[in-house]
Symmetry: none
DNA sequence: ACAGTATTTACACCATTTTTACATTCCACC
DNA sequence: GGTGGAATGTAAAAATGGTGTAAATACTGT
C-alpha cells in the first residue's frame, strides 16, 4: 500500500484530501508544519508528499531543497498562490507537480496516480537506508552505524558521505564534491576532501589504510564503491 | 543533450515552443499528427514528449496508451480543453503532466525541467558498457575490468582508452590522439602515445606482444579494433 | 569559557607523468 | 634476400604533483 504524507495546515483541507486519498487505497499521514513535515518524511518514508506552500513556518522552496538532499520521493505542491514565479521556483527546487487551489478532487487524484505510477518504477532509489559491509546509513535520519555500533559523524562528514552514497559507483570530481558539500566558493580547496575522506575511512573502513568503499581516482576525484554488489537500499515499511 | 518530441499541429505554437526548448539546450523534433508522432517517438527515442490533445487524427488517450505499450518516456500533455474529465482520462492513460492552454513559457519550461530531471535519475543507473573479449569498460563510471577482475587505469590511460573506444574501428592519427588526450600543446610528442598504448596493451590485451584490440597503423596512428564484432553498447531502451 | 567542529598548516610519501636510453620491428632500396 | 634508417616498442630512471597523515589554530554555538 502507498503511504502519502500530507503537509498542510488547514484542518478542513487535510480532512478533505485525506478522505479522497484513502478512497484511492492510500495510507495518509499528516503534518501541520514544514519542520514536522520533514521529520515525518524521514520517519515514514512515504511514496508521495503533498505540500501546501502556504504554511506559517518557512517556505516551500526550502522544504523541497532540504528534502532533496536525502530523498527522491515525488512532491506534489498545492498552493493558493498561482503566479508563474512561485511555480517555477518550487518546481526547479525539486518538486514534481504544482496544482493551484481551488482544485478538483478528480484532478488531484489523477496527478497523484501519475506520480505514484512513475515512482514505483524507481522506488528502490527512494529508500534512504544504505547498507554495505557491516555499515548501515540512514540518510533521512542522519544515523550511521558500523557493526551494530552507532558511529558519530560531523555535519561535513555526513554531507560528504551522503553525496558519495547517492552517487554510488560513480566517480565524483574534486570540483563537484566541493561544490556539493562546501558550496561553490571553496571549489579549489582539494585539501578539505583529502581530510574528510580520510575521516570517513577512519570511521567506516575495516582497514583505513586499505580503503575498499571510498576509493581515490588520482587526479580526478573520489568514488563510493558499494562492495560485492551489496548496496541494499533495503527498507521495511511494515505496511 | 536532451531530445524533446513536440507533437502539435499548429505551426505557430510549434515555433513558439521549439524556441523556448532550444533556449533550454534541448534538441527539438516535431510531428504534426499522432501517427507521425508515434513513429518519431520510436525512431528518435526522445527524453520527453510534449503532446497537444487537439490533433485532427485520433485522440490523445489512444496515443498515450499505444506509446506506453513499449516506452516509458515522460509525456507532458498540452491542451485547450481543460475539463476535469479530459485531464483525468489522459493522465490515467499514462501521461505525466497536463498543462492547459494558454500557458506561460516559464511554467512550461519548469515542468519540462522537472520531468527531465526525474527521467534522468532513472537512466543514470544503467550506463552504456563497452565489451570486447573478456573486457568491460564503463566509460561513465570510469570502471574497467578484465575477466571479472577490476583493472586500474591512470587518468591519461583512461582518457586515451576512452578516445579510442568512442572511435572504434577507425584509425586515429598521432596528432589527433595527442590533441584529444594531452591537449594541443603536446601534439608533437609521439613518444607519449607509444608508451601509453603499451600500457593499455599490457593491462588489457591477452597477449601484449601480439596486440589484437589496439592496433598500430605505421606512420599514421592507432586504431581500436573491437574483435569479433562484439562491441556491445548495451544500453537501456527506456527512452 | 568550554567542547566540538571546521579550517589551516606542515610534512612525508607515493603514483603518475615525463624524460632518457636502448632494443626491436618495419619497409624501401640496393 | 639482405641492409640501413626511420618508426615503433620496452624498460628503466628522474621529476612532478597529487595524496595521506598528524597536529595546531580558528571558529561556532552553548
Amino acid at each position: 500500500m502507498n503511504t502519502v504524507l500530507l503537509v498542510e495546515d488547514e484542518k478542513e483541507i487535510r480532512r478533505f484530501v485525506r478522505l479522497a486519498l484513502q478512497g484511492e487505497g492510500c495510507q495518509v499521514s499528516e503534518a501541520e508544519t514544514m519542520t514536522q513535515g520533514l521529520q515525518e518524511a524521514a520517519n515514514l518514508k512515504p511514496q508521495l508528499i503533498i505540500l501546501d506552500l502556504g504554511l506559517p513556518d518557512g517556505n516551500g522552496v526550502d522544504f523541497v531543497q532540504r528534502l532533496r538532499s536525502w530523498s527522491q520521493v515525488p512532491v506534489l505542491v498545492v498552493s493558493a498562490r498561482s503566479t508563474e514565479y512561485d511555480k517555477i521556483l518550487v518546481l526547479d527546487a525539486g518538486a514534481d507537480d504544482y496544482l493551484t487551489k481551488p482544485f478538483s478532487v478528480g484532478e488531484l487524484l489523477a496527478r497523484v496516480r501519475a506520480l505514484l505510477r512513475r515512482s514505483r518504477a524507481d522506488n528502490e532509489l527512494n529508500t534512504p537506508v544504505v547498507k554495505f559491509g557491516t555499515i548501515e546509513v540512514d540518510l533521512a535520519r542522519r544515523l550511521v552505524s558500523k557493526a551494530q555500533q552507532s558511529v558519530h559523524l560531523t555535519a561535513m562528514e555526513f554531507k560528504l558521505l551522503s553525496v558519495l552514497l547517492t552517487n554510488a559507483g560513480r566517480v565524483l570530481t574534486h570540483r563537484h564534491l566541493l561544490r556539493e558539500v562546501w558550496g561553490g566558493a571553496h571549489s579549489e580547496h582539494n585539501h578539505y576532501l583529502r581530510i574528510y575522506v580520510a575521516h570517513l575511512r577512519q570511521k567506516l573502513e575495516d582497514d583505513p589504510t586499505q580503503p575498499v568503499y571510498f576509493q581515490t581516482e588520482i587526479g580526478v576525484g573520489y568514488r563510493f564503491q558499494p562492495q560485492m554488489g551489496q548496496v541494499g537500499f533495503s527498507q521495511d515499511m511494515s505496511a
